[in-house]
Amino acid sequence: MLNDIFNILLPQVIIGIFIVLLLVLEIICSPKMYKYARFIALIGISSAILFLSTVQTEPQYFGMCNSLMSDSYTLLFDFVILICGFLVTLLSRKLIKSIKGSAYSYFAILLTAIFGAMSVVSSNDFLTLFVSTEVLGFSTYFLIASAKGYKSKEASFKYLIMSAISTGVFLFGVSYLYGITGSINFNEIYKFISENDVSVIYSISAILIIFGIASKLAVLPFANWVIDVYKGCESSVLAFLSTIPKLAVFGILCRLLVFPLRNSFELTFVVAIAALITALWANTFALRENNVKVILACSTSANSSYVMLAACLVSVYNVSAVIFYIICYVFMNIGAFAFLNIVDEKQYLKVEDFRGFFHSNQGLAGAYAVSILALAGIPITSGFVAKIYLFSAIASSGLLFVPFLIILLILTVLALFYYLKILLPLFDDIDKNAEIPKLSPVFSQKFVLISAVIVILLVGVFSEKIIELCRFAAYNI
């Protein structure tokens, strides 16, 4: 047991220690000292990143009675999750200013979510997976509800209800799978299904499991929470919501599709169709929307569905494309939400509110434009390379999926339309009096925005190293 902790669990343990520390400090410290909470959380996350080097990955390591595992694939995901956690923590400055007293518990919950996300990626049986998704899910409800006002509470409640239903679906699928194979361990299930023929019940259980877990990705059938929740959320929480749960769920989704749920042809088809319908729904819904956050919510849902489609056509190549896309994607999203964090969200909600923004704040608007153009997949940004890589993975999966690809490509054109709808008002010419005043973001906000933009542009040009890393991780899954 102790051996396992030192071999694979050290980063999680560090995060756990800091959670306890934060909770203790909340009792001790006065509300005036709320500022230190953020630094403690940052220290916790950075030390966890340092301790990632102690994780044993060669060969695959199974610990805690085979319920947890680590390899270079989980290590990569843990690393990106921690980096995102770091950036989200930096962005939280504005939020904790408004909730002063509960700043410590806010960061404790954020770290718990990161803890949950890391456990989701490295889980090796369905029980661990269930527990860690619930850890991630419950901390997400609190994070959504943390902002003042009833809107955030409403959003949190909606998310809670939808997650509860999807968890039920997930557990139902797991119970079927347990009934067929007699085990909840991924390795044993994989062994069972590769030695025995499986019935249609296996496929049904696989579909239920995938749909249950994919509710966090805002893929249909559990997708309609995304718009309400995004409307009611603070941008720093959105930066969390659109990155860390995504990374965690895609991390485990690829493993599930490669090992225990491999042998189901129906699953591939049903998931592909669900992904396609999600993409259709999200992209067309965003066309007539006017609220920036809602458009970004639809874009989240649409992007998840593209990745989902590539993920369900299982191959090493596809898995590497999925990893690469999701890594590129989280940085674009963090860039966009960092911008929304800098501008006053209460005042600027609709697309028209940003008219003429470029003329008073050129640097900010430029950075935002890079993030949005990357989401649309325009060259020199990482979005372009990621889209090409992902679509080439889908194209090479066989002729059967070319019609799917055609629809996706047409939807990408629609997507460009609504991304331009967000972006173009920024460059409008307006009167001098109506101009938006020059904003002066603090260091941490600037840091997040600039680092996101640098990552987007660097990966867009020098993508080879990252792709190689993703391929390496995908081979070792």
């Binding site: 325009i378 020199i380 090409i388 679509f391 690809l405 490509l409 054109v413 460009l416 080879e464 190293k465």
Partner: protein, 497 residues
Amino acid sequence: MDKFLSIPFLVFLPMVVSIILISPLFTSNEVMIRRFVKGFCSFHFLYAVILLCFFDSANPYLSEIHFLGMDWIQALGIKFAFKLDSVSIILSVLTSFIFMLAAIASKFNIRKNQKFYYSMLLLLMSAILGIFSSNDMFLFFLFWELEMIPAYFLIGSKFLQNSTVEQETEAKNSAVKFILYTFFGSMFMLLGILLLHFYNFASSGVLSASFADISDISIPYGIQITIAVCLLIGFGVKLPIVPLHTWLPDAHTNAVTPVSMVLAGILLKTGGYGIYKFNYLTLPNSFKVIAPVLAVFAIINIIYIAFVTYAQTDIKRIVAYSSISNMGLVLLGLCAINKIGLSASIFHMVSHGLVSCGLFMIVGIVYLRFKERNINILQGIANKLPRLYGFAVLIVLASIGVPLFAPFISEILTIIGTLNSEFSVVLKYSAIFALPLLILSSCYMLKFLHRGFFGADMDGFDKVNDISIHEFIVLAAILAGLLIFGLYPNSIIGLLG
């Protein structure tokens, strides 16, 4: 000499200069910026001409860039590889030339946001040169997509001093229309490229996106046709081929004069070049099947659009629509699938590039002075602007294919090439249908000349200046080009072999 003459220098120098221009460190003195850009464009043109002088069609220029010793995306075999063969070097020199003219012509047309305008213009130049010189499918696609951003801003932004709100909204809408059409086409193109890449890998085992490594020999026949059609939708938006053409008149009409010159002069040619590079060279088997169908589309382009052009009343729209009609001729030349047809097609790209550039310049000059583009209102320009009248007559004559000028050669060559085509009867007949272009184009072009330049003087324009030295240089350079290629067509045809 070999070290000095490099393609990346040719392609990326405008991009670097554009970044320098937009950076806050660069002077914001408008006269300085204008002179700097003019100087830079002239230097670039000179450089392109030197490249052309040292060009040897047996050894095309090749070049590759490695990042940190690695290819761009090794996992997909995508390289940063460039190649200038005889076709692409002709088009690159034309690009450089037309951008130089556009930079000179910008003096009277651009009164606002000069820094931004010139920066975007040079970025567009870089992207177009990249399209012509890339030797890798994905690199081609990258530049193809990249070109949308500066083109959007050039069409949609406000550069005139006193434009009305309606004009601005219209310009914005047409820019969005342009970008959505192009993106729609390029998504099909991406699909075609991805399929071609994958099936080439599956059949030959070489993971590469370089044009040299792609061959359609062992790709299943149905797939070949699918790929070719996907690619053609992408290029058909840019060229444009008829059902996909509606973005063009709006974009060209609402853009300022130098931008229209660039759009008609060179941007449309990227579509023709794409068809040549992908369908003609890389997928010859499927092109043989598609060519007769495409020839029918080309004829529709030529004849249908010629009638549409005749019905227009806005002179800028007349010129814009006439470009579509002329592009049909480029397409027809390619469809002939023989040496004559190909060289006619490339020759027509060059000659039409010059002609449309000149026509847009004339329209721009008229609009600057009379603030009017309606052909029913304009009259008597010849008395007011005699020098412009001289140029207008010559360039209009060139555009309708009068001997001595370059378009005459290309139109005749296209028809000869199509008649000699061996692949299909359709093509031989289509040559007969292409001939009316010569008559129809003279109808709408002479209408433009006749209504606008002759007749009684317009009221209220007593003190109108004739063309200035800048405008004179642009028109004279275009006319010189048309005459040189008209009298000595071998300068291009010889290079093409």
